[in-house]
């Protein structure tokens, strides 16, 4: 378990540790998503960023954005995908499994 489901508010982020990696959890429409917490572009924690228009996290440093559902970079200057993690909710607790990175976009 990495966090309680109730420990993260709607439209908010939460930084957690999982297998020596920093992961960012998101709750959008009651659904939990998880990606690596470090931006693939700059040295910044996405958990310090702001969720925009539902499923997009904006990096607090350079304002690049990612789709938290796929990890795909959708806003400049980010061009490399984020690693996503599979989320499982069981009895009010959040569990994670690592997923492979997506291909690099142009």
């Amino acid at each position: 378990m990495v966090a309680e489901y109730s420990g993260i508010e709607e439209d908010e982020t939460l930084s957690v540790e999982h297998e020596d990696a920093q992961i960012c959890l998101y709750k959008v429409g009651g659904v939990i998503f998880a990606t690596d917490n470090k931006c693939t572009h700059g040295d910044a924690d996405l958990s310090e960023g702001l969720l925009q228009d539902g499923h997009f996290i904006e990096c607090p440093l350079h304002e690049g954005t990612f789709d938290i559902r796929t990890g795909a970079p959708v806003g400049l200057p980010c061009t490399e995908a984020l690693r996503c993690h599979e989320v499982r909710i069981d009895a009010g607790s959040i569990f994670l499994r690592a997923r492979q990175p997506r291909a690099v976009n142009p």
């Binding site: 439209d11 700059g42 310090e48 702001l50 607090p60 440093l61 350079h62 304002e63 400049l76 142009p106």
Partner: protein, 404 residues
Amino acid sequence: MKVVIVGAGQAGAWVARRLRGKNPDLSITLIGEEAWAPYERPPLSKASITGGDAAPSYILSTEQAEELNIDLQLGTAATAIDRTGKILQLGNGKSLAYDKLVLATGGRARQLQVPGSDLPSIYYLRTWDDALRLRERLRPGKSVMVVGGGWIGLELAATARKTGCEVTLLESADCLCGRSVTPQISAFLAQQHQQHGVSVQFNARLDKIEAVSDGRLSVYTASGRTDVDIIAVGIGLQPETALAQDAGLDIANGIVVDRFGLTSDPDIYATGDVANQPFQAHASAPETRMRFESYANATNHAVGVADHICGEVEKIAEIPWFWSDQYDFQLQVLGTPRPDGQWILRGQMQDNKFCLFQMVGQTVQAVIAVNMAKELKIAKRWMKSGCYPAPELLSNLSVRLGKI
């Protein structure tokens, strides 16, 4: 259509990337004087000096340029523009025909103009190679004089302290970064540097520099002589306008452009640090002109120019935004602070985690945040939408600004 971009810095690279993203058929050539492919400049005053990286962090590596079919010509200067024939002359004797030309020539570090300015051990910072030279010289126990209390000077001072140097900072005005932040923030910056052991000298006039034994330098100011190992200078940027000026384009503190980034020639754009753009500080302010030396501008204005080349006619109008990383804090400035208005503090300045909102009437005019990135981004949303919360909510830490 043939697009030629002069200047392979951040802005030039983003024009090229954006053009390719929009149109697979364009012929795109990117000309750069440096030997390095386009790279990120923010780390140059920090991690590039303290770290051990052998190459900069690329925005468009040579491999990526090849993949994206962008003709990246490095180590190449552009020497003249034939506007009638629409041909760009290169320093290597070749020439390039263009349909659209983009000038992303940036600028050079402004040089000291005092006797002794040409001595060795005086360093400037603009390029990766400059950062490598500083990395070589900023060693524990060395004494460094940083000239200039602007953002580059302050970041260099913080980095020099991090590497174990003794640091003296010379500022000609009576406060730090006085042109872009409030007196309160200037005082905060001075306090941070003093707490980290920097000797900050205000109202300092540098008279001359002399070489002394062992390659050390004597720096003479009105208050006397200081001997140091190294001088690091951060006294501003000189926009690189020679090519545009020789071609007869309108020049005034950079290359003059319109809302779309077009110069006085309808087939030539300018973008990035060198572009002097129309600018309105707030809705009722008169339109003025401004050059923006920021990361956000170098990306966003470049993207706007690329979009216009592709036929989109949306004006480029971004809220100015920049940041600076020093020691353990990140300071961000959003919007253009005004002399009037009311500043509302959220958090405590002594905690190094606070946000200052400038309210003018019912609107937020500017935000200065230290280690409070999220609040600043939320304020940016308000500024874009024109809907603002009541001022008393801003200072209330129990109110989550994102939920208003």
